[in-house]
Amino acid sequence: MAEPILEIRDLTKSFGALTVSDHISLDLRAGEIHALIGPNGAGKSTLIKQICGELQQDSGSIRFAGRDLAGTGTVERARLGLARTFQVSSVAPEFTTLQNVVLAVQGASGRSFGFLRPVLSDPSLTGPARRHMERVGLTGRENILASILSHGERRRLELAMALAMEPHVFLLDEPMAGLGPEGSVELTAILANLRHEAPILLVEHDMDAVFALADRISVLVYGRIIATGNVDDIRSNPEVQSSYLGETA
């Protein structure tokens, strides 16, 4: 078995007396969707923030593509190929959808110090941007300001921006949040295809989506991973049922 692309070992993080990440070990292999589930306050978003460099862990390690990420910041990790979407949609509201995606293409290109050539007449930026917009179903919405997109469209815009970075790993923080049943189904179909481009670490509350998509599931409760396994393992795990699935099912 090949070395995992993302390898988290014994990751620990405390805020004062509260341990939000308690010796978390987790990995993400090529071609898989690894779902991270757990009740509210389990520390899922805190884990994502540590992976993308917004927070520094107290101890433990995060290795990405064979490289220890200690001491690298958010910008550098994004450059290395970690693309994230935010739990609460985070786009540039005064830009059009196209400008937002172009910004992501540009970020991946590593060249932001061109001063004279208009970005919107640069096909090396707009070409890929339009392609990624098409994949998430935003074609025809290029010139709409991001601030007046519907909630569902904004979620898809975020995904297009993540795609535009052509990353090695997707970190998706509750992409289905607030989408409603049809929206979730559509997005599930998009995500199912995404794993061929790069593996996905998927934080999600929508259990239908998780069970439909995930190759493996890890369950996080009070900062600890209490189980990791395939869908059937997790469904039948008594500890998981009592601490998490039991609440919702």
Binding site: C52, T74, V75, E76, A78, R79, A83, R84, F86, S90, V91, A92, P93, E94, F95, Q99, V102, L103, A104, Q106, G107, A108, G110, R111, S112, F113, G114, F115, L116, R117, P118, V119, L120, D122, L125, L145, M161, A164, M165
Partner: protein
């Protein structure tokens, strides 16, 4: 409701035709007023790159305006006295050539903005406003207490600096110089805002977390934007020194920083022709009301309040009823 582009073109044409007509009617004072508008607008175009596009509320741009002004004044004073600026390790003479003074002003403003920006941009929000103000005050007090170049009394430029082929002492010739610089600065700022750099800079203003997440470092972007911004404002300062044929610490004062910011707010933050609209309105008010009452700035304050409360898009926003820009 008007579209923005025709309004912008009309403003520029107005700025061009008024002094030409005034010159034909032998009204040099009007030409000088128009020159002042062009120069102030250029200074504000500079600040607008930091403030409007980058969201960097600099309350210290008088430092760059004044540094440009002193650059012009110091070079000219040495040329007038036939004293070299320095003799060791090599001799540097003063000059009255605008073609040399401008690059010096741009360079000096750029170096100052790079240094001030490198430190100030480590902060944000109110701290950024205060630290830029503090740096500008440092430069102000330095100029006041430096007797070699006039200290508090300022530094006269007896003969306006020269440009090949023009008689810069003729008001219309000097207006042409200021007008071309205004146009060049504005066109550059438009190109900049549409470029890769401009996209990332404006993105960082709207959502810095998002820009970091796509792998772009906002600090470097902002530092470059702040430096370019300071350079353009410094150039305007050099022109302003020539307009008045006088440089004094008041160019470096916090009131000057405030006025440059007022031009932008009046005209419309982030709008390419907002600086022109704002500077023109300011000068017109000063001219029309300044004669009536020395408290005209009270009325300016009321107007500013109205714009901030009810017309976020500034003057251009009111005329075109469009709040969005970019």
């Amino acid at each position: 409701m008007l579209r923005e582009t025709p309004v912008n073109i009309a403003l520029v044409l107005l700025l061009l035709t008024v002094p030409v007509a005034a010159s034909a009617m032998d009204e040099p004072f009007i030409v000088t007023l128009a020159t002042k508008v062009a120069i102030f607008a250029t200074a504000a175009v500079g600040l607008n790159i930091a403030l409007g596009h980058g969201g960097l509320v600099s309350f210290g741009h008088a430092a760059f305006f004044g540094i440009g002004g002193y650059g012009a004044g110091i070079l000219a004073s040495h040329a007038q006295n036939y004293e070299p600026l320095m003799t060791w390790p090599f001799t540097v003479e003063g000059t009255q050539q605008m073609l040399i003074i401008w690059p010096v002003a741009l360079l000096a403003g750029g170096i100052a903005a790079l240094a001030i920006g490198a430190l100030s941009l480590r902060t944000s929000g109110v701290y950024f406003i205060m630290i830029t103000l503090a740096f500008a005050q440092m430069v102000f007090y330095f100029a006041v207490s430096w007797p070699a170049y006039g200290g508090e009394d300022g530094l006269p430029i007896y003969v306006r600096n020269s440009f090949p082929g023009l008689n810069t002492l003729r008001p219309l010739d000097f207006f042409a110089v200021a007008f071309v610089w205004f146009l060049a600065a504005t066109l550059f700022s438009i190109l900049l805002s549409r470029s890769r750099f401009g996209l990332a800079l404006q993105g960082a203003r709207q959502n810095v977390e998002r820009v970091r997440a796509v792998g772009i470092d906002p600090y470097r972007l902002r530092l470059v934007a702040f430096t370019i911004s300071g350079m353009i404002t410094a150039l305007a300062g050099a022109l302003y020194a020539d307009l008045n044929r006088f440089v004094s610490p008041s160019m470096l004062s916090w009131q000057t920083s405030g006025e440059i910011m007022v031009f932008i707010i009046l005209g419309g933050v982030g709008r390419h022709f907002g600086p022109l609209a704002g500077a023109a309105l300011f000068i017109l008010l000063e001219y029309a009301l300044g004669g009536v009452s020395e408290y005209w700035k009270f009325l300016l304050g009321v107007l500013l309040l109205l714009v901030v409360l009810f017309a976020h898009g500034g003057l251009i926003g009111v005329v075109t009823r469009r709040r969005h820009h970019g």
